[in-house]
Amino acid sequence: MTKATREIHLPQIGDEQLKLLERLSNACAVSGDEGEVRKIVLEEVRPYTDEVKVDTLGNVLATKRSSVERPLRVMVAAHMDEVGLMLTSDEGEGIYRFESVGGTSVYDFSGKVMWVGKEHLPGVIGLKPIHLLEPAEIKRQFTVDSLRLDVGPATGKVKIGDRAAFATPFIRQGPSLRGKALDNRLGVAILIELVKHTSPLIELQAAFTVQEEIGLRGARVAAFSLNPDMALILDSTPAYDLPTWDVDENVRYNTRLGSGPAIYVADSGTLYDPRLVRYLVETAKAHGIPYQVRQPGGGGTDAGAIHKQRVGVPSVSISVPGRYHHSPAAIVRLSDWQHTMNLVAIALIHLTSKVLDGER
């Protein structure tokens, strides 16, 4: 352990952090309707920041000033929103047509219970019973259009325009955590801890963004407003570390649970700044923190919008790996969460404008 890490207080995951993640995971914040998570974020960060504002799209922008002159201005972003659905038509007797919000598969909704609206009223997305299917229908692909949400045969509190999220209560199971929307409540939880613990050398611009799942729209305006020198994006990326169908070697795992924070090099939206990637890798090595390089290709984070803002923002993304994102629940490892938090906290502590010296 280096001198620097001994002197600073690294955020640790204890009961308080677990309870906060549980609250964040059980809260519903389908893209465009992030109020429930925003409320928790504001409550948590307000006492620790110099300036907090909620912008016109609903982003929470919290700035923590530095004690040094002309500090490096670092935007750290984590999106608050999650995938889900919106009720689009009332067919009577408690039956609603809906459209999905964000990237989901029809199976994520099939036969699932949902939390509808601000009161989390239960509704179910049922399917035609298997007994009544034609033989060809059993294997036939179907679409979200054919599904309906059913809140029970009574008219009441649910209405067109309401959002619904998966009704999955958060649990801890051995080394793992299971809950909905861990993409990206893990990032939100880490960013809250960073706000509470960051060193004063940099100016921390914490951006809790909206509408990431439907086109990185919150991050785009947040980066314009904050006008940072660089950006670090916290997210949760898929781990496809499951057995292949024929139990052959899985060479397309993207990331693996238990292997530490996933550092991005390239995804479908961003070619990450090699200086920042190198800095994160070297920091991890120097401090004995496990890390993995996310397999390049596919996917994306708020970096896709941020790095192209104004004259350009050197950016890097780092994710807690998670299985089954965008489904009723994800499974993640507590250790990956802790290691990601440690790596980002230490990286921010030692970060100076030198990291951007030299040409990209």
Partner: protein
């Protein structure tokens, strides 16, 4: 009187896939104990509750069956800490991905059913429903822990918790057929406080979803003069053909077809009309998918009738039932039994 809602929530929260019903059985025993004269278990594990009639010996008897087993899954391989599974009963693979389950290993483990990621499949997952053999269960533990706690052959139950929905409805798994267990319990409680000439056997059957083994063997052992199955039927719901389904919460059904006796059907229908219990005729042209299918052909044959409780989204972990229909089913059977007299059996003739 047992309150239906809390009792039913308790029933569907207890495990008991076909062949492994011992998880739910004690709850039923506890509810039946105060309202029966004796109880026993069949060799296959069905629960028999007996209420003695007041008529002279030899007394006729009626058997009322509701099955207590649930559809579910079973572990058939362990791969790197993940479980491959097979189905027990009629499982709709389309609803499985993302479904929460309990793996009954050396200890109960919360698990989640997940598809093999599309990129690791030999076919385009966009084009088809991913078959069960490509689904896995993730219990969130490390491979070593899983190998210690889980064995091939361990049963797996759905874990969707009961959810109260609007309009007096309940959503959960295994309402097929625990809703009928609740109806049968309601029936026993009504009969406990009123005289009935016939002996009554309430039977919580096992293995209905796979073999009909419970209904078959208990009917043989108890050899009733008449048998009634209470089971769920299709409630009108999005996507279901309207001609094959019945409104939810608006009454119960009486099955009409080769497995049921027309005179019994008529007697129950007329009684329901007198009592103003709404009933619909449910045409079942060939096979009744209930214990009645088995019980009708036990020994020299037993006259049967089936009472249906409309249920939405059958055989998914999020079935929906209306509590009113459960009470109606229990009440109709209780009223029917209490008016059975010595001569009723003579009426069961073919009028052709």
């Amino acid at each position: 009187m047992t309150e239906i809602l809390p009792f039913l929530k308790e029933l569907i929260s207890a495990p008991g896939i076909s062949g492994y019903e011992s998880g739910v059985r004690p709850l039923i025993e506890k509810a039946w104990e105060p309202v029966t004269d004796k109880m026993s278990l069949s060799r296959l594990g069905s629960l028999h509750g007996f209420q003695q009639g007041t008529g002279p010996e030899p007394r006729p008897s009626i058997l009322v069956a509701a099955h207590m087993d649930a559809i579910g899954l079973m572990v058939n391989a362990l791969i790197d800490g993940f479980l491959r599974v097979t189905s027990i009963g009629g499982i709709d693979t389309r609803v499985l991905p993302g479904q929460m389950v309990t793996v009954h290993g050396r200890q109960d483990l919360p698990g989640m059913i997940v598809p093999t990621p599309a990129r690791l499949l030999p076919f385009n997952a966009q084009d088809t429903v991913v078959p069960l053999e490509y689904l896995l269960v993730d219990v969130g533990l490390l491979p070593d822990e899983v190998a210690t706690l889980v064995r091939v052959g361990d049963p797996i139950s759905f874990a969707q918790p009961p959810v109260e929905t609007a309009g007096g409805t309940l959503v959960g798994h295994t309402l097929d057929d625990r809703a009928a267990i609740a109806a049968l319990t309601h029936c026993l409680e009504m009969l406990h406080s009123r005289p009935h000439m016939w002996d009554v056997w309430a039977v919580a059957t096992v293995q209905e979803e796979v073999t009909y083994g419970g209904g078959l063997t208990s009917a043989f052992q108890l050899r009733p003069s008449l048998a009634v199955s209470i089971d769920v039927t299709f409630a009108s719901s999005p996507g279901s053909p309207s001609h094959l389904s019945f409104p939810l919460g608006k009454g119960i059904t009486l099955e009409w077809g080769p497995n049921t006796h027309p005179v019994l059907y008529k007697a129950l229908k007329e009684l329901a009309e007198r009592l103003e219990i709404p009933v619909c005729l449910e045409p079942v042209p060939t096979e009744s998918g209930t214990d009645t299918y088995a019980m009708q052909v036990v020994a020299e044959g037993i006259p049967n009738v089936v009472i249906g409780i409309p249920l939405r989204y059958m055989h998914t972990p999020a079935e929906m039932v209306a509590l009113k229909d459960i009470t109606r089913a229990g009440r109709l059977v209780a009223e029917f039994i209490s008016q059975l007299d010595e001569k009723f059996l003579d009426k069961l003739t073919w009028e052709d």
